[in-house]
Symmetry: C2
Subunit: 329 residues, 2 copies
């Protein structure tokens, strides 16, 4: 199987490529990978198939046509301008997140019209397509009314994916990814960063800032689960999606207090003592606009799975990022 990952230099793209190198998919091994991003991605260590890496601009029609010329079996479209930047720079967000997605689908269409190529197309959407006035638990039939330009662009991507799938141009599936926690790496400026920071930093003996009240509830899953969603989407029976190829992914609805309680259980009070409460009204207001829980019946019935306790999310982080050991607490 030949897999193209667009956005392969990002955290999820990199982990996904590593997973494909380490373990065959349900439908067989990946024998070829094409890895593309705005910066040159790395081929995962130990991959013994054919690999190409490319630095591409998804807003360039020529670059996209060249990227697709090898006609991969499965295309993962993970590339995007993130939420904060898409909000700050309207033109850049629409250019990459809307035009880039459309260029990809249209480049496939042109090739499809010539020779019938109909690749599987896995689109990374986001829970950010929901916004504004929503219920405590968002069901699969709930209306999409994004309140950010990023969410708008992802929602438009979902609509394009559905239309091009309905027309038989791609075999599409869109995955609305939850917030990823525990996100590895350094703290960043994302408003959601603290959900990971309050776990990641204390586990290595560092202080972390908590800017929101302890009763703040959010919907999150581990990087490991997110990689599992992408793997499952490669080979699952897409006819089961019916006329709705976009799915809210499963995750865990958890409060900050529950996160901290799980951290104490796993790493003790010396870890939780490193969390410093510094209320930030701006961050609290942004986070208050985010979905707190979903009832992702469709995704669950289609075989997507996620952690059901926050302790399991912490243990996945310790196994995947800290070599399975706690040395600093």
């Amino acid at each position: 199987m030949h897999v193209l990952i667009l956005g392969a230099a990002g955290m999820i793209g990199r982990k996904f490529a590593e997973s494909l190198a380490a373990q065959p998919l349900d439908g067989g091994a990946v024998t070829r990978m094409t890895l593309a991003d705005v910066v040159l991605p790395q081929v995962p260590a130990g991959f013994d198939g054919a690999a190409e890496t490319l630095a591409v601009d998804v807003a360039s029609p020529d670059a996209i046509t060249a990227l697709l010329s090898s006609q991969p079996d499965v295309i993962y479209h993970l590339a995007a301008i993130v939420s904060g930047e898409a909000e700050a720079n309207l033109e850049k967000g629409y250019k990459v997140n809307l035009d880039g997605t459309r260029l990809l689908l249209d480049a496939i269409r042109h090739q499809h019209d010539r020779d019938g190529w109909t690749p599987r197309f896995v689109f990374a959407s986001s829970n950010a397509v929901f916004g504004g006035d929503f219920p405590d638990v968002i069901g699969d039939d709930y209306i999409v009314t994004p309140q950010t330009s990023y969410g708008t662009q992802k929602a438009i991507g979902e609509l394009l994916l559905a239309d091009y799938t309905r027309r038989g141009i791609v075999q599409g599936i869109g995955l609305r990814l939850p917030t990823i926690c525990v996100r590895p790496g350094k703290p960043n400026a994302a408003a959601s960063g603290f959900f990971s920071g309050i776990i990641r930093e204390p586990l290595v003996g560092l202080e972390a800032i908590l800017p929101v009240p302890d009763d703040t509830r959010h919907w999150m899953t581990s990087p490991r689960s997110a990689i599992g969603f992408l793997r499952h989407a490669a080979t699952m029976d897409l006819t089961r999606l019916g006329d709705r190829p976009n799915l809210s992914m499963p995750a865990l609805s958890v409060t900050v207090a529950e996160q901290i309680a799980a951290l104490e259980k796993v790493a003790g009070p010396r870890a939780t003592a490193l969390i410093r409460r510094v209320p930030d009204a701006t961050i609290a207001r942004i986070v208050a606009g985010w979905a707190r829980a979903f009832d992702p019946k469709r995704a669950l019935s289609l075989g997507f799975t996620a952690e059901t306790s926050f302790e399991a999310i912490i243990r996945a982080h310790i196994e995947d990022e800290l070599g399975g050991e706690l040395r600093h607490v």
Copy 2:
């Protein structure tokens, strides 16, 4: 008030311009009209304000910039490639219905960035944004999953409108128009044409074909109500829309049998005898995929109104199109 109507040569655009000429809006008279379409629209008879007419290609950035240079107070975007053509010609549909809408919003944005101009923008969306697996009655919170390219393009237009409104670039409102019945003029090839044909033709002594079973249910309103929606959108308090500027419009959920019964009540059995049942499986299948009823609570609470009996819809047609008299039956 200066009003721009893009799509002014269409049935609704023309009737709306006539209505603005005949009767002031709640917020005052229209003193200037700019009427644009792919073909040159006509200035309505009796309009005593300033009027310009333009033939424009909505997919041309230069034409759109020129069109907006007079900075109207309210912009009505009614222009679109219709459902059947957008399905048959993917590129043309996306070019006009998606790119055209985006060009308009971006041309406004460029001017807004220069001088703060923030016009009211009324977008004609459609019930075609709903499709696939939906309940008998579609509520205001129900997910949008179009099953045509036209519906997809209208749904994307709604998302763009909402984002540009949220960002303060336009004062947007999107109206999901129901099927219009009784549509004046000649029979056309639209799959929905018979809903009007079985009333319009018998009322002037002509035979009409009914291709679907009598128990077929659909959601429809008169041209008069549709014009009322557009008029109301010109001056209503948009802050009441909250963070959701797109609204399902009210209409009447009625079966073909109820349409025919109302026709008999208004025009007698000689009229209904002119309806000839010629089942057409293709049309029946298309129509079966359309929404049958809505529960448009938000629009009703915001003051949009429509007929509540099909007899009223027939009488509106007789008054508006037949001079108030039945001469042929």
